[in-house]
Symmetry: C2
């Protein structure tokens, strides 16, 4: 292993859980160094950056080439302020020069059905909504990789699902189209570059031939120590991963309205059959 490779694996897994990784190159090094950034300079992006990111996004795989996603680029300050407020006052949405809202979009197929006089029987199913959400995620991740390769920073905004109906009205979304998540894109503000966050060891996440939770408790104990140390050094308070999991999924209130997502989706034109 080169020292860079070892250092990058140590940053991601901690010194005690470095996996025996094999081939390595500059692309993989770039993926390994991802960190989410929550503070942006107001600086505009170079001309054509949006179109480059979308070309990368559209190059991702899409289920059966149905391309059931779209994206709205938001730069209007008032609109960004509205989305910041709707997402639990995440100021980085206002700060970033470009806010991309990735849409799970079955409306384009619905318009084809109308234009061609065909009933599209598969559209009302949970499966087809899931395809659209996964399509949007694959595309967005390509945009993130492209952005980071250009020295830009990003952060996903799942809180765009706190109130999907208001978001849909703000963006004039047609039925069969919903904001799956947002993505802030811009240059990291000094002091907000953040650090590579440790993850669970591969022994907890990677299984061979069959699922095997045998290493789960050991991996969690080690990861609790790693996250306590990381958060003490990089965040406002120290916490273990276990503590954070319980805060995040223990109480219904932590969903910030997203417990109503199924009903909201039905009203937005996804029957989820």
């Amino acid at each position: 292993m080169t020292s860079d490779k070892v250092a990058m694996l140590a940053a991601r897994y901690g010194d005690a859980a470095i996996p025996s990784a094999g081939p390595w190159n500059a692309v993989i090094a770039s993926l390994m160094q991802h960190r989410s950034v929550r503070g942006f300079k107001p600086d505009a992006l170079p001309s054509g950056t949006l179109e480059t990111l979308i070309a990368a996004a559209q190059s991702a795989a899409t289920s059966s080439n149905m391309q059931t996603w779209s994206v709205v680029s938001v730069t209007d300050p008032a609109k960004k302020a509205t989305f910041a407020r709707l997402s639990g006052n995440q100021k980085h949405i206002e700060q970033c020069p470009m806010y991309l809202v990735f849409l799970a979009d079955l409306s384009r197929l619905e318009r084809i059905g109308v234009a061609e006089g065909k009933t599209l029987e598969a559209l009302p199913f949970l499966e087809t909504f899931l395809v659209a959400a996964i399509d949007a995620a694959l595309a967005a991740q390509n945009a993130v990789i492209a952005a980071e390769s250009l020295g830009l920073s990003t952060v996903y905004i799942g809180a765009m699902r706190n109130d999907p109906e208001t978001v849909a009205r703000e963006l004039d979304l047609p039925p069969g189209c919903m904001a799956a998540f947002g993505l802030c894109v811009g240059y990291a503000l000094a002091g907000h570059e953040s650090a590579v966050k440790p993850r669970l060891s591969q022994s907890a996440v990677l299984h061979h031939e069959r699922y095997d939770a045998r290493h789960d408790a050991t991996a969690r104990a080690a990861y609790d120590r790693a996250m306590a140390a990381f958060s003490a050094g990089h965040e406002r308070q120290s916490y273990t991963w276990t503590e954070r999991v319980i805060v995040r999924v223990g109480r219904l209130s932590a969903l910030n309205g997203r417990d109503r997502l199924a009903d909201a989706l039905r009203r937005l034109g996804f029957p989820l059959k």
Copy 2:
């Protein structure tokens, strides 16, 4: 623009719809050249490739750092044959040396709840399942980018959702864990390298400030011509995109059982409230 950049954009969008993309580099060029491959050599992957791909995958963003995904690496020929059969006889699942099954996995959090004596109220909701599916997709896409950067080829297998309960039994998945999709990884077989597939023009997919379907019909007509030409040259029969959409989502039978996904998920421990 460099000629490479123009050529890559032309391959992805056709000569008539080249977007005015800006910054460009080797990572973006690699993303642009993605193609799904459905024929693999039996050649084994270099030692440590799996761990490299998973390190890249775990470096993707994950909602609130909950890491609600896992992956099973399948190399056993009998198991790959079973998954090929369960996925509508997709022979490339048998052929590829490594078949990765990406899991939307809330079971790890459930085990924490049990171990800590806490009820995790947010787990039974559609929102939390969606987070897990999106987490799995972001991770998988990083694995794909890493694999392609190493000269490997991949194809996603959504048909792993045709019969999620049998797949869960084959992989010993605990409740709260489901196979979101598979991913074949290996070296492309000669003659199966495939070509960069054209996509819809950016005018159909990318919106500014608000959703605007005004360019939809024009973009679809142009894309129908592009896909007719592409499929005539690269596939067994020529078809327009509109024709393919109607085949793929027109009839319920094309879902191959995935119209029962919601019920299957409920039985697998996702109440989807």
